[in-house]
Amino acid sequence: MAQRASTKSADPAANQESAQVVKDLHERMVRIRLFETEAGKLMEAGRLPGFLHLYVGQEAVAAGVMAALRDDDQITSTHRGHGHAVAKGVGLREMYAELYGRVTGACLGRGGSMHINDLTRGMLGANGIVGAGVPIAVGAAFAARYKGEDSVAVTFFGDGATNIGAFHEGANMAAILGLPVVFVCENNGYAEFTPQSGHMLLADVADRAAAYGMPSVIVDGMDALAVHRAAADAVARARAGAGPMMIEAKTYRFYDHQGVKGLRHPYRSDEEVAEWKARDPIDLLEARAVADGTATRAELDDVWQRTRDEIAEAIAYAEASPLPDPADLLLNVYSG
């Protein structure tokens, strides 16, 4: 049975998060939020080609996990990957430029939203195939151990993804090889438009970890500090050679599965959406920070403002960037 992590850790020392951690989490979340809401607006304005799976609502997960990682720790991500990339430190300019399909983008304009990556930041890529990133993270963890490094790999996936073979095989592979992989399930309650109850009988995805002999923990995915604590524990465990572990973060996406438009099918009730929005992860952290004096409102507002400026600049950079040259169509198909 999965362990349920309370928001307050049992260990009092663990509650002494420095103001630094809170501010770090806050900043990562704000960056994601603004990156995504601006991207959504650009999409609605018809300025971005392709698909857009927004991460808004789930920021506490990416921020909480990534704040527990080093640059040399590796992550694999999903179709809903912007939040992971931003939180792992991928440049906003390169990300927007990629969404615009510009040659200055993170993929030189070749990949778009679903393939953003940054090898220098340990971002091993978003992925358009559900579950496909799971075994790739296992391979990254294998490489780390093989080379005698103590970095870990984290793989992000949704509730729906746990029904696909690659998840199952990857989890068992990591377990039997004892690899330093942290499995982070962002359970937002839906796979596209299908509720969790329509795709699996379990209430807690974390209970699937037992099938691999893997420990697991459930956290409030709207609580960045709770996610961070759970992630820090799992990462420390993996780094110490104790093998893989699964974290299930219960969260919610505030936009539609894809794009920003209203839904043609009322698969979520207004009340449900409102309830979750009332627990906006950024609001929660800000309220706590102000209440316990970790940060002032002005300091928090300053983060928003600085980020807004940075984002505006990044969008301007992207818009001013050149398009790829069709003459280079065959660039990077092969190495060497």
Binding site: G50, G109, G111, I129, L329
Partner: protein, 340 residues
């Protein structure tokens, strides 16, 4: 199925126009009405009606017994179809994007396609697999492929590539009525295009090519969305006095090569065009067969136009250069005619 209602190869004069996706939807609904054993399974096909709206309204009419939303488990989804087909149902399973076929190809190729043969003919597998293929929406390398060459290489499978609303309906009906596993490759860019579609149910014979336009100078064999591009090129060329014949194979496995051979023997020049990468694409098989069957009739080598040898790029400026279009087809025809 033995009773087949076959419509004429070309759309008869009917005023009614439907979009490609609605034509597909109507054919599917009519096939479901015709045969109680037809059901649909896939991700978000029931409650949502499919991410491409392919299955709109079907849940309302047919209910949750015949419209099944499944988890993201394509191998089990296709396997569900194989097992149900082996037990006498006529499943329609939807793979959403054709690119996802890599996670369930075993069930398609080693199970569905081979079962009848390996089992000594003991059963049939009347399974229909629907999926959306093709580039043009900025969906990038993992959501834009045209993989018909893989499937057409597999004995036991049939593969159809509707090129317009009329064929989207008729080929779907025939796929469902067929007693073999058939993959229906819809084209994403065509989904919203409109065309004349008869209201009654009709099938289009599998394995029968259609001459979409007659001409005497060059034969253009075009797959799926490229049929429309070829017809547009034909208009442009006609204005310059060049008459091209456009052949739409409709089914790529089995492939109606006789219609192609007959055309080439008249035109003596042939171009094959598809969205898939040229190397190893269906154009290779078509070219190989034509150079064999019409060797003495060719005034120029069979010309192939397909995508360059790279994954599908994201940036629209690259994607546009990547996918063949009417301009490249017209240019190819001119090149063929220049060759003495």
């Amino acid at each position: 199925m033995t009773t087949m209602t076959e419509a004429p190869a070309a759309a008869p004069g009917t005023a009614r126009k439907l979009t490609y996706v609605k034509a597909f939807n109507e054919g599917l609904a009519q096939a479901m009405r015709e045969d109680e054993n037809v059901f649909v399974a896939g991700e978000d096909v029931a409650g949502y009606g499919g991410v491409f709206r392919m299955f709109d309204n079907l849940l309302d009419e047919f209910g949750p017994r015949r419209m099944i939303d499944t988890p993201i488990s394509e191998a089990a989804l296709v396997g569900l179809g194989v097992g149900a087909a082996a037990r006498g149902l006529r499943p329609v399973v939807d793979l959403m994007f054709m690119d996802f076929i890599g996670v369930c190809l075993d069930q398609i190729v080693n199970q569905a396609a081979k079962m009848k043969y390996m089992f000594g003919g003991a059963l049939s597998v009347p399974l229909t697999i629907t999926t959306a293929s093709g580039a043009g929406l900025g969906a990038a390398a993992q959501h834009s492929q045209s993989l018909e060459a893989w499937l057409a290489h597999v004995p036991g499978l049939k593969v159809v590539m509707p090129s317009d609303a009329y064929t989207a309906k008729g080929l779907t009906v025939s796929a469902i009525r067929d007693d073999n596993p058939v993959v229906v490759m819809l084209n994403k860019v065509l989904l919203g295009s409109t065309g004349e579609v008869p209201e009654e149910i009709y099938g289009i014979p599998l394995g029968q090519a259609h001459t979409a336009r007659q001409g005497s100078d060059v034969t253009v064999i075009a797959l799926g969305r490229m049929v429309g591009e070829a017809l547009a090129a034909a208009d442009e060329l006609a204005a310059q006095g060049v008459e091209i014949e456009v052949i739409d194979p409709r089914t790529v496995q089995p492939l109606d090569t006789e219609t192609m051979f007959a055309s080439v023997r008249r035109t003596n020049r042939v171009l094959v065009v598809h969205e898939a990468v040229t190397f190893g694409g269906l154009g290779a098989e078509i070219a190989a067969q034509i150079q064999d069957a019409a060797f003495d009739h060719l005034d120029a080598p069979v010309l192939r136009i397909g995508a360059p040898f790279s994954p599908v790029p994201f940036s629209p400026v690259l994607e546009k250069a990547y996918v063949p279009d009417r301009a490249r087809i017209a240019e190819g025809c001119r090149r063929l005619l220049e060759r003495s």
